[in-house]
């Protein structure tokens, strides 16, 4: 199984360990993983700001880098969602369609494609679970508190096997952290207020770490944690699942 590893731009630049964990995890489960070196960004920051019209360069580059794989996998719900919904190329519509149908976020790839039942990992810490919105509500990685539907969570399913892990949920199980892309600076006051409220709930639960599937959320929460000089650290789901 040939897997193209898509490492979102801010993970590449600021949180390479998430990319490394993702790569190692996929290889552990027998995937033949390639990292196209000329990948850049999915284009989400521009598109969410109303400039989807300027994302041709990103789209074309994405298609160039990720065509020809059985699957494309990324440790990010929001980036995967963006590609799934908005990857287009007028000159190459079929190639875009192919990729849109083959791109997966990491946890759903593990549960739905690789059909992973248990992950052999060890992370003996008390960890707060942050539910990233795009992954949950749009990629359906977990059930949503607003809906009257059977509960499930792909991430929790995988985390169940991690030795020593104590997973705790905040009072508001799936309220948005407030990152929201450029929202984090254009509506800075609300963004920080939202993040502080999330952090507060995890602090109430006295966790050692906060985890989630999207580094963008974690980066935002980490910024607030460190400003508060909190002892709580962030860790991506991939890093927990890869921890020994």
């Amino acid at each position: 199984m040939k897997v193209g590893l898509f490492v979102p731009c801010y993970i590449d630049q600021f949180y390479p360990s998430v990319g490394i964990s993702t790569l190692q995890l996929l290889e552990k489960f027998g995937c033949n993983v390639h990292y196209p070196p000329d990948q850049t960004c999915c284009g989400q920051p521009m598109a969410n700001s109303g400039f989807a019209s300027l994302t041709h360069g990103c789209n074309q580059n994405f298609i160039k880098n990720f065509s020809g794989f059985d699957y494309v996998v990324a440790p990010s719900g929001s980036c995967v969602l963006h590609i799934k919904e908005h990857l287009h190329d007028e000159r190459n519509p079929e190639a875009a369609k192919e990729i849109r149908s083959r791109i997966f976020e990491l946890t759903e790839f593990l549960t739905d494609v690789l059909k992973v039942e248990t992950v052999e990992a060890r992370f003996p810490h008390r960890v707060g679970l942050h539910q990233s919105c795009h992954g949950q509500r749009m990629l359906h990685l977990a059930s949503m508190s607003e809906r009257v539907l059977p509960p499930f969570s792909k991430a929790e399913q995988l985390l169940k096997g991690v030795k020593g892990l104590e997973l705790v949920k905040p009072a508001r199980v799936d309220e948005c952290c407030g990152f929201g892309g450029t929202f984090c600076v254009t509506e800075e006051a609300v963004s920080v207020a939202m993040g502080e409220d999330r952090v507060s709930e995890h602090e109430t639960n006295d966790v050692d770490y906060i985890t989630g599937g999207d580094t963008s959320c974690l980066m935002h929460l980490e910024g607030i944690l460190r400003r508060k000089k909190s002892r709580i650290k962030i860790v991506h789901l991939a890093e927990i699942l890869n921890a020994q």
């Binding site: 390479p16 300027l54 990152f179 006051a189 939202m194």
Partner: protein, 457 residues
Amino acid sequence: MNDNKTHSQNAEEFLKDRERAHWHDETLWFVRAKRDKAAHNIPEWEALRDAASRIKEHTLSRLDEYLIQFEEKAKANGVQVHWANDAEEHNQIVRDILQKHNAKNVVKSKSMLTEECGLNFYLRDQGINVVDTDLGEYIVQLRNEHPSHIVLPAIHLKKEDVSNTFHEHIGTEKGNKDEVYLTRSARKVLRQKFLSADAAITGVNFAIAETGGIVVCTNEGNADLGVHANKVHIACTGFEKIIPKAEHLSIFLRLLARSATGQPVTTYSSHFHRPGKGQEMHIVIVNNGRTNQLGREEFRGSLKCIRCAACFNTCPVYRRSGGHSYHTAIAGPIGSILAPNIDMKQFADLPFASTLCGSCSNVCPVKINIHEQLWSWRQKLMDEGYGGFAKKASMKVMAGVLGSPAVYKISGKLGRTAMRLMPFAVNNNLNPWYKGREMPEPPKESFREWYTKNKKA
């Protein structure tokens, strides 16, 4: 409500009083929680939402036919039907009916449509006194404020605020903030208003095409008291409130109150078909930009709205910025996709007052894809040039960097190096991120660099 500031500026102001903002957020989250409890008590909840959505979508696709049928039935019931293409015309029609009856004092039950049209201010200028009788609206009216929420108009106020306002305007005891005392005091005052008024104006929750009747939902009984105590009843409605059949009310009434407040149903679901003895009943059907929205394929779904405000209560941004931050009659997520249709320039900021978390779409009883429409409005607004020159320019730069592997790699390396060697370059007050958060630590090597070193064999 500061009309000249953007949502972002208003929100920043709102959040200055952190404690109060936190209280506002908790109060509205509690309403969301009540909604969840009510919804989870109905096993067929999702099927109800689906049916409601499809009924509304069907109705929009045959809207003109249903409006014609509605008008015909209403007229046969002895009701006078008027059509207003815009807010100004709506206000004039209402004024003309009132002047014909020499009405100087009017009682009005909740109607966001009349808020949208600025009816109260218009009538006041014409020498007609309007009293809003919904307790929440009465409170904000006394304070000369706009409602901050379409279902809970005074949600932004604390008991002390109401106590002070009532003391000032209706002579209640100074400092007495007991809610029962305050409510009973308002009851006394407003009862006299109901009985001494010359006309009653109501909104419309649902207009039934099959029978020509309208349904008005309240908890307080103010719509019914107002209408039954007066010789003239004027019901104002946007044309999208129409539903095909009376039986459909079962679906909408099961969804409405549960979505709005978590109650199984409002205390009163009043069906008005024919005017009372000696009474005149009027219905004013209003456009005010709705035909425009109907023609927008991406946005016409917003016309399914039944004004429950579930989206307000779940929106983490609304809860932390308050309805007045949106500087429009209908705030929150639904307001953010309705307002730009009216005036793109004035409301260009609203679709950006969101993280696109998608919670709103999940609680919407008629399944409006609010979060997707917010995204689509962003594209439309930027395409039409409402982003401002600076924004477009910086976006072009970003697109250039992110679209080109070479430029991206260099910029990334340069950026991280600069951050490590000169942290003050970004850790300062010019950087909006830095105001409330620490910047992420720039690692020595990017993932790409690590991969090249360790894996590329």
